[in-house]
Amino acid sequence: MKSVLGDRKAITLLLTPALLVYTLIILVPVAWSFGLTFFSGSALEGFEFVGLENFSRLFSDPYVWDAFWFTIKYALLVTLFQVVLGYGLALLYNFVLRKSSVLVRTLVFFPVVLPTVAIALLYQKLFQSAPVDGLVNELLVNVGLSSVDWLGTGTTAFVVIVIMDVWRSVGFYGVLVFSGLLDIPDEIIESARIDGAKSFKLLRHIVLPMSLPILFASFIFSINGTIKVFDSVFALTGGGPGNSTTPLTLYMYRTAFQFSDYGYGSTIALLLTVMCLVVTLVIFRSSRRDLSV
């Protein structure tokens, strides 16, 4: 095996097809999209070179910054809930339910396999306020509160999006962290207990430090998914009311494909790429530090 991988020709042969496909379906469109940032127009009307106009527009467009802050807010909040609640679930599976956790695990994991659009429709009905109240409003009214037009204002719509996305993915993070917790040797826990560590101390000094790598992996998974959020928001609120729940991805899609403004759409895509790059760099830097400890 070592001799095969030491052969330059073999390496070239093995890598070329994959590289070629990667180049054609990822790098070429990325370069193409970057090129489009200097143009305005659409395929129908033809493209016109406009230099840096799209970029100056990007910095003066309030919609971009609304979408940018929404994306950041959403990514941080949902990631936090996904990882923290996922960790809580994993602790529950591993230390409380133990062997009998299979049923609970399956139930909590179930939403992960459901299609996003189905979940969005379900949540639309749950949080419905017109023409008749949905389940949530019924509950509020029954305990003496007034019903809320959940999807009618930006703040409450954001709350519904966060609840929905955490609900549909927390099972995955539960299982992910659970698999990490299983790797902690029983002997260590046992000896810590003998040394007198009770539940919180055990968690703080033994379980948490030993599950840091898997927590870190969960965080990367989560932030990767949430920063690119599109489908759940698109299906639940369509970015509304107004543009109050529009993430960058949706604004980019609208600009390019609904407003036929491919040049500016590509410029927004570039901003999104830079944002993902920054997040990736931050993650890699911190992971390197983590390894060097």
Binding site: K9, T12, L13, T16, P17, L20, V21, L24, I25, S42, A43, L44, E45, R57, Q128, S129, A130, P131, S147, D149, W150, L151, G152, T153, G154, G238, G239, G240, P241, G242, N243, R254, T255, F257, Q258, F259, S260, D261
Partner: protein
């Protein structure tokens, strides 16, 4: 040849083959499936927006009946995609020469005009004159099409709608209200309707356009029929005080609670049902609502529905007789796929669509000359109004670019729920217009 040489030769050969194989796969992936499209179509594929449910049954009835010969020669095949994706999809197909022979387009009229300018649409003026069927399309509908889609007869009026306020006659009679003719009268009626525990106006804030239609309705009455044309020409701005005043009036309706609670998330069907089940006194809507009014879903009865024009504004320049009109989201034929077979279909559709639609209770821009068809009273009222109306106006977003149109629709709910001031609303839309 030694084994070593053979091996040396084989390696580049294999990699070349692998590269060629990958290349073929990628190219195969890039080329689209032809389907019914192409220069010489075998079927009459009609790509429409899924939300349009009225055209299909009529075309199907024609295909099974009077156009069966054309259907045998070139079977009708109807496909749907969501309306929100339609303009983008049509543009994509156009640039790839993959447009089907017949398709809906111009959800945003400006996008329809672009297709015409780029030469993708059939010139119906010429085609129908050649087919000797030009007189089967009403002049009113053609003039609306010309106003909207770049000045030519390039779309077909499978729908022809006028808009106004439908009202519940029984509720009006019980409360002793006269049909309002001025904006102030309308406000009085709305106030009394609210006091009687009714929703004054059923409207879908989720859709947005039923609310912005009220803004343009007010503008056409206060400033005249050219109010929105001036915006399109750049002679006026939406931020001018007289324009903001219109937005203020509609925002006030919301502030008074005349749209009912939770208007922001009420969808189109729910808003229509609110009116058709007698919970709302009035609904501003186009004549496409006749389908619902004449259906079983209408529990107040078709005879119980009245229709009035948008009322006059005191001292305004507009006339109450100018109805907003449109051709729905219209369909058209591709210029490149127009073959003799498609021409036969076009002739058959143009000659028979009007009567078939009328027999199904729908009013279109095609001439319906079959006098034996009896219409429900409300449909007859609308038909008479269309036949006798002298001039028409467009609607708020009719001459907007796609972005301004979208922003106007998505922010309308914020305007009537007080989350956005009239100034902010008009400024946001005007900014989008200035950019486009």
């Amino acid at each position: 040849m030694s084994t070593a040489t053979a091996r040396r030769l084989r390696k580049p050969l294999i990699s070349a083959l692998a590269l060629a194989g990958v290349g073929v796969l990628v190219l195969a992936g890039c080329s689209g499936g032809g389907g019914g499209s192409g220069e010489d179509p075998e079927t009459l594929e009609f790509l429409k927006n899924a939300e349009n449910t009225t055209t299909e049954p009529i075309l199907q009835a024609l295909a099974d009946g009077v156009c069966s010969d054309e259907n045998d020669a070139m079977p009708l095949e109807i496909n749907s995609i969501p309306q929100a994706d339609l303009d983008a999809q049509i543009q994509l197909l156009a640039t790839q020469d993959g447009l089907p022979p017949m398709f809906s387009a111009g959800g945003n009229p400006a996008e329809g005009a672009k297709l015409w300018d780029a030469g993708y649409l059939l010139d119906f003026d010429k085609a129908l004159t050649d087919l000797d069927a030009r007189d089967k399309v009403s002049d009113g509908a053609v003039s609306t099409i010309e106003k909207l889609y770049g000045g030519a007869f390039n779309f077909l009026p499978f729908q022809y709608n006028i808009e106004g306020i439908f009202y519940n006659k029984a509720i009006f009679e019980e409360n002793g209200w006269a049909v309002p003719e001025t904006w102030d009268d309308l406000l009085t009626v709305a106030g009394e309707a609210k006091a009687a525990g009714l929703t004054a106006f059923a409207a879908s804030g989720e859709q947005g356009w039923p609310l912005t239609r009220l803004v343009s309705g007010y503008l056409f009455r206060s400033l005249g029929a050219d109010a929105m044309q001036k915006i399109a020409d750049g002679d006026a701005k939406l931020t001018d005080p007289e324009y903001v005043e219109a937005a203020q009036q509609i925002a006030d309706l919301g502030a008074q609670g005349y749209f009912g609670a939770n208007v922001a998330s009420l969808d189109y069907d729910a808003a229509s049902n609110e009116f058709l089940t007698g919970k709302a006194a009035m609904i501003y809507m186009g004549s496409w609502l006749l389908g619902n009014i004449n259906s079983d879903a209408n529990t107040i009865g078709a005879d119980n529905v009245g229709f009035m024009p948008f009322p006059a504004v005191d001292g305004g320049a507009g006339s109450i007789d100018e109805y907003p009109s449109n051709v729905g989201l219209p369909a058209t034929f591709g210029a490149k796929t127009y073959t003799a077979g498609v021409g036969d279909w076009l002739k058959c559709i143009t000659e028979n669509y009007g009567n078939e639609a009328l027999s199904q209770g729908q009013i279109t821009g095609f001439v319906a000359d079959d006098t034996s068809i009896e219409l429900p009273a409300i449909s007859q009222t609308i038909k008479d109004t269309i036949d006798t109306s002298t001039d028409s106006v467009l609607w708020f977003e009719a001459l907007f670019n796609a972005k301004a149109s979208s922003i106007s629709n998505t922010n309308a709910a914020l305007l009537v729920t007080g989350q956005m001031t009239p100034e902010e609303f008009m400024t946001t839309v005007q900014d989008a217009l200035d950019q486009g």
